[in-house]
């Protein structure tokens, strides 16, 4: 059940850095320019671009240049894949209890029909 695809590896790798998570948090509110993204961090522009490159390669964001402004936006699909992976890890025992509950419900229903 472990999804060990290269894309997922890159996504989690990208998420392992606090600056990149900060950028993603900003982008979850909407697209932003590179300078807007860099603003909260006291790091050099090359460092910012390096982080952006990692995010783009992970598929978590994509960017587009219009004139002099590069606009970065979130790629929700990649984030969803990472989210699903976590949810699966969290939920097997919960899911088993869900199945148990559903089964109880089916027993109750068939009991009512017979009774």
């Amino acid at each position: 059940m472990l999804n060990d695809s290269p894309n997922l590896n890159r996504a989690f790798q990208a998420l392992a850095d606090p600056v990149r998570r900060g950028m993603l948090a900003r982008l979850s509110r909407g697209p932003a320019s590179v300078s807007q993204l860099a603003e909260p961090f006291s790091i050099s522009l090359p460092a910012v671009l390096q982080h952006l490159k990692a995010l783009e390669e992970s598929g978590l964001v994509r960017s587009e240049k219009k004139g002099r402004v590069r606009t970065v936006r979130l790629e929700p699909e990649t984030l969803s894949a990472a989210e699903s992976w976590i949810a699966e890890r969290r939920s097997e025992w919960e899911a088993q209890l869900d199945r148990f509950e559903n089964y109880l419900q089916s027993l109750k229903n068939s009991g009512e029909k017979n009774g």
């Binding site: 989690f12 392992a16 969290r90 025992w93 899911a95 199945r99 148990f100 089964y103 027993l107």
Partner: protein
């Protein structure tokens, strides 16, 4: 109470405690809900007395098959209220060899049921482990432990990837 070596799962189930107990402990019932699809329980034994066997066989896609597996041992039964069993021992309290996968570490499950009124049942499962490492291995297999563990796992997973890269 649970300490750092334990995992706890609690829920109120919408069924009377007699029905919950039956569905939870009767092997024919258990086969119907125990495994996640497309996995399937093909054999299930649960002998409800101290020293009794607790064994299942799970099969799935790509030739997945647990075979007969190492059977666990029932430790305590209070009908309708409590079931305690362990993977550390086999039937008749004989110690088990620890194997692979689900059998890689010993744990004891303490499951309690009580009438929550209104035809509902309070369910609580506690998995006891010998140390935090075993607890984490079990947690990684999917035991619900809230968002904190998930976040920690994610962090560890990500850190391991960074090291590898």
């Amino acid at each position: 109470m649970a300490d750092g070596n334990d995992l706890v799962l609690e829920r109120t189930l919408d069924a009377p405690v007699e029905l919950v107990w039956e569905a939870y402990t009767d092997p024919e019932h258990m086969k119907r809900w125990f495994a996640p699809q497309p996995y399937e329980i093909t054999e299930m034994e649960l002998d409800l007395r101290p020293g009794g066997i607790f064994r299942m066989r799970m099969v799935g896609p790509d030739g997945f098959d647990t075979g007969h597996g190492a059977p666990g041992c029932v430790l305590e039964v209070i009908e309708g209220q409590k079931l305690v069993w362990t993977s550390a021992l086999g039937p008749g309290f004989r110690p088990n060899n620890m194997g692979v996968g689900c059998e890689a570490f010993p744990f004891t499950a303490v499951v309690t049921f009580s009438d929550a009124g209104d035809g509902k049942t309070a369910y609580k499962a506690v998995a006891l482990h010998k140390d935090e490492a075993d607890r984490n291995t079990h947690a990684n297999m999917g035991f619900q432990d809230g968002w904190g563990t998930v976040a920690r796992q994610l962090e560890e997973y990500a850190r391991n990837l960074s090291v590898r890269a």
